[in-house]
């Protein structure tokens, strides 16, 4: 029977995973069968996708991609690889959304921000001390290249306005609204929904402080607009933005993008 082993189609005569591992790898290798890591022996079937990953060894670049793909759910991976998602604002929400989308293998990301990385960003944004002073677009591109170098990243180091928004984001299926200021959020959502007839927006409102995690949710306002957050907790003096709730909200946005990319419209 034919299977795919480490990204290459081969014909095998043995019947179990452990036999294949003995023949082609080492007994400490991690086994990923059809996107799922297993540690017990089982029968192999025709068409299975099997990946053996040696522990503690830096793989060659062409092997790395097939090893990473092994962990993506196979039927979903193709749709994600074709996805084009833009992220407007690369702060606490945007930087973390971008990293999550890169980890799941979304093929094409556009990163938009005008600002650079400052020490005050490190409390919640996906940057490190080595990024201080760099434009956020450049810092995040570097960060993503260290996580998944097999996706295409475009960057725009500009401030988004009513006049340039439609041009900046046209060609992208989904835009994540990840700005900080309420007026900017409103401007982006209104402009894109009015000017780009097929774009879908996953926006955010309300995630400051350390109120309960469970008030943050995703709602569908219309067929092209989703809003994540608790809709009330505004960042203000005495109620700052803190990593846990900001990342919960970013997770809601990233999961809604994932659901849309695989064709699910419900929240």
């Amino acid at each position: 029977m034919k299977i795919t082993l480490n990204g290459k189609e081969i014909v095998i005569t043995c019947e179990t995973i452990f036999e294949i591992r003995k023949m082609h790898g080492h007994e400490t290798d991690i086994i990923i069968l059809n996107g799922f890591q297993i540690d017990h022996n089982c029968k192999i079937s025709h068409g299975d996708i099997l990946t053996l990953i040696p522990k503690g060894v830096m793989p060659k670049e062409d092997e790395l991609e097939s090893m990473m793909m092994a962990r993506h759910t196979p039927t979903v991976h193709k749709k994600l690889k074709q996805g084009k998602v833009a992220i407007a604002g690369l702060g606490g929400l945007g930087s973390n959304i971008a990293v999550m989308l890169a980890r799941i293998g979304v093929g094409h990301l556009l990163l938009v921000d005008f600002d650079s990385v400052e020490p005050s960003n490190l409390n919640r944004q996906n940057y490190t001390i080595s990024h201080l002073g760099l434009p956020k677009t450049e810092a995040l591109k570097k960060q993503i290249n260290e996580i998944n170098p097999f996706i295409t990243i475009e960057t725009q180091n500009v401030r988004v306005t009513e006049d340039n928004a439609a041009k900046l984001f046209s060609g992208y299926d989904i835009v994540c609204e990840a700005f900080d200021r309420a007026e900017a959020k409103s401007m982006l959502v209104n402009t894109l929904l009015s000017e780009l007839p097929s774009v879908k927006i996953v926006a955010a409102s309300g995630m400051a402080g350390y109120d309960t995690s469970n008030s943050i949710c995703t709602s569908r306002v219309m067929n092209r607009l989703y809003v994540c957050g608790d809709l009330t907790n505004e960042a203000e003096i005495g109620k700052g933005l803190m990593a846990p709730r900001v990342l919960i909200c970013a997770g809601h946005q990233a999961n809604m993008v994932l659901r849309l990319l695989v064709g699910i419209k419900d929240v």
Binding site: G91, G92, K185, S186, S205, N233, V246
Partner: protein
């Protein structure tokens, strides 16, 4: 009229802008979806509301 998921009584002859003002919305921080269509800010004063309408208003608060 159905407003953010709840049926409410609607005063006759109200424009969208009248309604937003009465509800104390800051028009610079919202998105208005009427019957599944986004309403551009510049037209808030031209849109009349009706009993059979479904109105969804998203209020954005700062933070991200």
């Amino acid at each position: 009229m159905k407003f953010n998921g709840t049926l409410i009584p609607l005063e006759k002859g109200q424009t969208l802008l009248d309604f937003l003002k009465a509800q104390n919305y800051d028009v610079t921080k919202i998105a208005v979806v009427l019957n599944d269509t986004i309403i551009p800010k510049a037209t808030y004063n031209d849109v009349m509301l009706h009993d059979e309408d479904t109105l969804e208003i998203v209020r954005f608060v700062g933070g991200g």
